[in-house]
């Protein structure tokens, strides 16, 4: 959505008064600040960072060739793979894959937010549930994600309790985190068990093997991709790496820089589920999904690859830059576009919504370089935001 400088300023001023948001974001950032130095300074993490930042440069240079190769490899694996140039194209593809009466469960996907998949499916009659706890809370509040990895960062426990009370018709104590999580778990498990389609994102996809790599701690992605009959992966063209090993490196890096000292689950998914246990005859499905689909969204990325925004495409969406950003610490998601917020989120907004939408946001950047300091992909984030300020677009 394009807004003027004054409109953005107004929104950012009023966000300063949002006590719930300030509390949630403040606590989240404090917790992150207390642990990230310990993780970043590890020798293995440093080594991985060097490798992945090189890899990201390679990916950016070969972006077109890589995503095309991935589509070929995925197709060979028996996966239906598509390139979607626009948001609308992606939705039309989904429209054909998913029938209007189906129950759909979904794990966290920023590409999904970008194309507005939840609202799209709901409006055509699908029942849709977010299985990631943060995203589930966001769904209850009907908002955009505050941050790349922790979408509900701006919603403190007190507000979660209130949202749960409304959804489940029962009282929750804000300090009963276990009780809230258990309630969501039971509710969502039931939905997952009955769902027809599971939508997930992807941290990375390999061009050579056509393997989709995801990293998570909750375990909801695994359930979402394996329990329903159909598994749809929503991802984007810049997430394709040469090999599966590269993908795993990227996924680990994403998890470390998001502040986790090790990921709970890393999944590699290459084909729909099957078994050859009876006489070596392949039968599909076994325990997992019967059909698998991958949609690679472009939505401005390929154009950006040859513009002053290209460095932004090296981002692996770990969210570290947002969690150290002083502007984010007081304004939260108010400093952002329709999907992406703060720090690199301003650059992402330029890539997917246009420079004219991002430019008014860019002026609130302090150029303090806190973001650059933590970025595993070695992106000059504040430098790119400054280029937005100086771009000639009105």
């Amino acid at each position: 959505m394009k807004r003027s400088f004054i409109e953005v300023k107004k929104a950012m001023y009023s966000a300063l008064e949002d006590t719930y948001m300030r509390t949630g974001v403040g606590r989240g950032m404090q917790n992150y600040a207390e642990k990230y130095e310990g993780i970043f300074s590890r020798e293995d993490v440093q080594q991985l960072k060097r490798e992945v930042s090189e890899l990201r440069r390679h990916v950016l240079k070969n972006i077109e060739q890589l995503y095309k190769q991935a589509i070929e490899s995925l197709t060979k694996n028996g996966v239906y793979a598509y390139y979607a140039k626009t948001r609308q194209d992606a939705l039309s593809i989904l429209d054909k894959i998913i029938q209007p009466h189906e129950l759909v469960v979904k794990s966290k996907s920023l590409v999904g937010e970008e194309i507005g998949v939840r609202d799209f499916l709901r409006l055509r009659g699908n029942e849709v549930w977010e299985t990631d706890l943060g995203e589930f809370i966001i769904q209850l509040k009907n908002e955009k994600p505050a941050q790349m990895v922790a979408p509900a960062l701006h919603i403190p426990r007190e507000e979660v309790a209130a949202l749960f009370e409304k959804q489940f018709n029962k009282k929750f104590s804000p300090d009963d985190l276990e009780g809230m999580v258990a309630t969501a778990r039971n509710f969502l498990r039931d939905k997952i068990a009955r769902a027809d389609t599971g939508i997930t994102g992807a941290n990375a996809i390999s061009a050579r093997e056509g393997t989709v790599v995801t990293v998570e701690n909750e375990g909801n992605i695994r359930l979402t991709m394996t329990m329903p009959r159909k598994h749809v992966v929503l991802s984007s063209v810049e997430k394709v790496y040469p090999s599966t090993v590269d993908c795993v490196k990227a996924a680990l890096t994403q998890s470390y820089f998001a502040g986790y000292d090790k990921p709970t689950y890393v999944s590699l998914t290459s084909t729909p589920s099957g078994t050859g246990d009876i006489e070596k005859v392949m039968v599909r499905p076994a325990q997992g999904s019967k059909e698998m689909y991958v949609i690679l969204l472009d939505n401005g990325r390929l154009d950006a690859a040859s513009s002053f925004l290209s460095d932004g495409l090296r981002c692996i969406k770990c969210g570290a830059c947002q969690l150290v950003c002083p502007v984010f610490s007081v304004d939260g998601p108010a400093w952002g576009g329709d999907t992406y917020t703060a720090a690199i989120g301003i650059v992402w907004t330029a890539i997917v919504e246009g420079v004219d939408s991002a430019k008014p946001l860019s002026y609130f950047c302090l150029s303090c370089n806190a973001c650059n300091e933590v970025c595993p992909a070695d992106i000059d984030i504040s430098g790119t935001i400054r280029l937005l300020k100086s771009s000639k677009v009105k």
Binding site: Y13, A33, Y363, C365, L366, A370, E373, R386
Partner: protein, 315 residues
């Protein structure tokens, strides 16, 4: 109804002032050179002290931000402001009503202190005086590349005229812009830029440790991340006898004072500064900075909770 100040108004006003007065706030030159009255300089030297004007501007920045806050309804008392603007249009220089001599004296001392340190080490240097030109850093930060280039070329020309080979700088912003950005905008710019912390020898200014006061040390962003001077900053503070304490988010992971957007969105800027004060105030009631922007912004935001000092005030 509060009036949110538009970006173009701020930008235009800064650019016009720079063109007319060689500083973005439109101050008369004597306010910037006042500190040097009665001091001697060796203008035949190829080394010059470059103040960049930022320390001298602090009281006026404070007054400007106070005015903008009134105008934008962040603090009461904006009615007169609105009337003034209606008559004369937006100009940052309409805001300096309340600057006292005592305030200007405080910031002038910071520069004379540096002068004395340099002299004490036997360093010979000149000073451009009323010919000094502001570096243009604020224009660069606002993305006004053409206007920035114009200023950069003017200052570079002036330095060439005076045969300056080396500039001693005193704030991280001017240091960074002159060292890393000027060469991209001014062909053949090869003046060596040295921040005073890189030049002075900390152990030459040793003083006994005063343990009665603890200073929470705040790393200015550019000083820590772009100039990599966090360690020298600490060495200096220690040798000056200051007892320092490390807040959450320090050195290369420091948290900005909010200053860089004070003229864009003073209310946001102030909230950031207040957050930083909370982190700093956990360690005591004194904070140490080494940057005029931090000094001004944290100074204002922390004033109920702590005293904020610049390293150069402590010598």
């Amino acid at each position: 109804m509060p009036n949110l100040v538009a970006l173009d108004d701020v930008a235009k006003s800064l650019v016009n002032n720079l063109r007319r007065f060689r500083n973005p706030l439109g101050l008369s030159i004597d306010k910037l050179t006042e500190w040097s009255k009665g001091l001697s300089f060796d203008n035949a030297s190829d080394t010059y002290l470059y103040t960049g004007g930022l320390y001298q501007m602090i009281p006026y920045i404070n007054s400007l931000i106070d005015g903008m806050n009134r105008l934008e309804g962040s603090i009461p008392g904006g009615i007169g402001m609105v009337k003034l603007l209606e008559r004369f249009g937006f100009n940052v220089s309409s805001f300096y009503s309340s600057v006292t001599a005592k305030e200007t004296a405080r910031y002038n001392v910071i520069i004379t202190n540096l002068y004395s340190l340099l002299k004490k080490e036997g360093i010979n240097f000149g000073y451009l005086g009323d010919e000094e030109i502001y570096s243009g850093v604020i224009l660069y930060d606002l993305g006004l590349d053409d206007e920035f280039g114009e200023i950069a070329r003017q200052l570079a020309k002036k330095l060439k005229e005076k045969r300056v080979a080396k500039l001693i700088t005193m704030d991280p912003h001017s240091t960074f812009i002159l060292r890393s950005i000027y060469p991209k905008y001014v062909e053949g710019f090869d003046v060596e830029i040295v921040h005073y912390m890189e030049l002075l020898k900390a152990d030459k200014h040793k003083r006994d440790k005063d343990t009665s006061k603890i200073f929470s040390i705040h790393d200015p962003c550019l000083l820590a991340r772009n100039l990599d001077l966090s360690q020298r900053y600490r060495d200096f503070a220690e040798s000056l006898g200051l007892k320092i304490a490390e807040p959450l988010m320090s050195k290369r992971h420091t948290y900005c004072c909010g200053g860089p957007i004070e003229n864009i969105a003073p209310r946001v800027s102030n909230s950031i500064a207040k957050n930083r004060c909370t982190q700093l105030a956990k360690l005591g009631s004194n904070a140490l900075v080494a940057c005029p922007i931090c000094l001004s912004n944290l100074g204002r935001a922390c004033k109920d909770r702590m005293n904020v000092y610049d390293l150069l005030e402590m010598v």
